[in-house]
Amino acid sequence: MSHNQVVQEFHPRVHEAITNPQIRANFRKAMDGLMDKRQLAFPSDDELQRTRELAAAIRLRALSKLPELLEKLEANLTANGVKVHWAETGDEACKIILDICNEKNAKSVIKGKSMVSEEMELNHYLEEHGIEALESDLGEYIVQLAEETPSHIIMPAIHKNTDQISDLMHEKTGTNKSRDVEYLTAEARQQLRERFEKADVGVSGVNFAVAETGTLCLVENEGNGRLTTTVPPVHIAVTGIEKVVENLEDVAPLLSLLTRSATGQHITTYFNMISSPRKEGELDGPEEVHLVLVDSGRSNIYQDDELLDTLRCIRCGACMNHCPVYTRIGGHAYGYTYPGPIGKILMPHLAGLDDAKDLPSASSLCGACGEVCPVKIPIPKLLVRLREESVAGDHNHDNSVVKGRGAKRKGMEPLIWKGWAKMHKHGGLYRTGTGLATVFRGLVPSNLGAWTNCRTAPKLAKTTLHQQMKARSQNNAASQKKDGGDQ
């Protein structure tokens, strides 16, 4: 897969973000706000934990029958008059969408928010082929104006504050400079409305695809999703194969957790359920509806019982909102479509671990992500698994399905760990080692490089706990002996 976002290595990108006070302030403020909102949306921890259990079980059940449910989904959508397409790669999916556009002689596409379309870089692809693609989600619209990529999966323009958005809109569209969010929103809406009327095709994502009824569910707040999927004569929905759920009852708990985890809303302003094109006698709706199901590495993950959990994700963004790393570096520094904790466990599969090699280690494993994940993905555990895969550090996974496995096994590191293991598996060796270390404690270099840039060097103790305890037991033994001798 190609991904134009990666322009430099991870650390220079981190440096750029972390030393930019504007980025730091924008993310801190936004993430604090989102964490508070989520907290307020879950007044009862019991209810939260029960619903998480349920949601995780629903997603797990769907994944355990994924091939069967996908077939059912296809059959039911087809029966409803929706055309279903399968794409193995992002490029293939782009091609399918382009072909549909060409067949309809389409010149302009209006888009609702879709991370999968970001992942496959649909906009670039269409534009290269002479078709204009316009984002209609406000955040996406801003990001597109700025010629950037989303920095968050739910709030694509969260890296910008109101002033920056006002300046951007002024420069690109001629609106007045203003801090009035309502004015800016109204202006953007006006500009977008005109484009909806002209668009030949609407492209949207999907939040849940219901197999039993052949229904595509779309969660949104701005109404742009509804317009995208009803105004243009053709609607193309595009999504990853993992988004399928078994039946309609499964949707309610997932939806309730999705919106509360994401933005603290109990329900979004719009919830669209699409099951067919316009029927005879209906006044609106598209004449044609397509669904493009994209694999792009997902079926690979599917083959591993542990990694499979990655596919439970319902893309709520809570893991990034609560991530101390994401809060500090923002979304762009990761360099991939999906930033934050979910990106760290997903991108290595989509892009290959050799490509995304710095992501799994860029976590203190604090566990905040796993704690808030509404479908209970054990993110820290998966990060450790991917670290293991990066260094191929465990023979347990010799038949691993992970692309680019072992990419980080180089240099001195494997040797260092071997030496470390040797020393620490023999208590005797360890004691001489540390004993020696204490002797040379004055020699510990006070500049431990990375550590001491912002911290003083730790000081080795004069005597270790081992030595103190040994001395103590010798003293005890001696005094017991003495006591015994006196008798």
């Binding site: 972390i18 203190s364 604090c366 293991a421 912002c454 081992h466 305890m469």
Partner: protein, 253 residues
């Protein structure tokens, strides 16, 4: 944490696993922990062959090496006494990750057995010993930092503050974003130094803003990180392991 944990009655003997950081850098914290346990009438056994729980290799992805070292630790606890560690992070490694690490290995049963006996020191003092603390120290204002492993992996977020609240002359203040990670994360701090620095700097500022005289923690990794940064930033709060803090103040004359 909504799960209810059942604690055993106070035993006569326990094993003490000091952890390598305590051993090398903060032995006094380990000794204080041992003395607090002994004060409860418990005999503390310190196996001299103990080294490290294996976590550094485990979180770096070198699981074969982590297993080698962990396997050596499994042999240290032949009697069925409980095992107490003055660190949520190492206790978490033994309790939560040993069973996974040894799944399908010959040591699997032993690993599960050891894991089931592991307790973090502060939870042991609070919930197993029901410790009584008589504070003889001068009035002091402190902030508590609970490690992420203790808080999230072990579910012990309330334990440290509960112990500190038993101390008559200790005023516990809470720093902003108290649950946020300090940025240590073991090798993370040197593999991603800029991110770690940003995190620990914010943590130090938050603690400093409370006006606390000291930062108390139950994990030496966090302590090394936070106090190292505070010293570098010329902040005037000290860091102290909760075991040393409690022991010292209960024995001041």
């Amino acid at each position: 944490m909504s799960t209810i944990k059942l604690y055993p009655p106070k035993p006569e003997k326990v094993y003490f696993f000091g952890t390598c950081l305590v051993d090398l850098f903060y032995p006094d914290a380990g000794m204080a922990g041992i003395q607090l346990l002994e004060r409860e009438g418990i005999e503390v056994i310190f196996p001299q062959d103990q080294t490290c729980c294996g976590q550094p290799a485990y979180t770096s992805g070198y699981h074969d090496q982590a297993r080698e070292v962990a396997a050596a630790q499994l042999k240290l606890f032949p009697e069925d006494y409980l095992i107490v560690l003055p660190s949520g992070s190492c206790a978490g490694m033994m309790r939560e990750h040993y069973p996974e690490l040894f799944a399908g290995q010959p040591e699997e049963e032993l690993a599960k057995n050891v894991a089931s006996r592991v307790y973090e020191l502060t939870e042991f003092l609070l919930h197993v010993c029901h410790i009584q603390l008589e504070d003889k120290g001068e009035p002091i204002k402190v902030a508590m930092h609970t490690s992420c492993s203790a808080r999230r992996e072990m579910g012990l977020g309330e334990v440290g503050p509960a112990l500190l609240n038993k101390m008559a002359n200790v005023e516990l203040v809470e720093q902003a974003r108290v649950k946020e990670c300090c940025g240590f994360g073991g090798a993370f701090s040197v593999r991603h130094p800029e991110i770690s620095e940003a995190m620990v700097t914010d943590k130090v500022e938050a603690i400093d803003a409370t006006g606390a005289d000291a930062m108390i923690t139950s994990d030496c990794g966090c302590m090394m990180n936070i106090t190292g940064a505070a010293e570098h930033m010329n902040k005037d709060f000290n860091g102290e392991h909760i075991a040393s803090f409690l022991w010292r103040r209960c024995n001041e004359s």
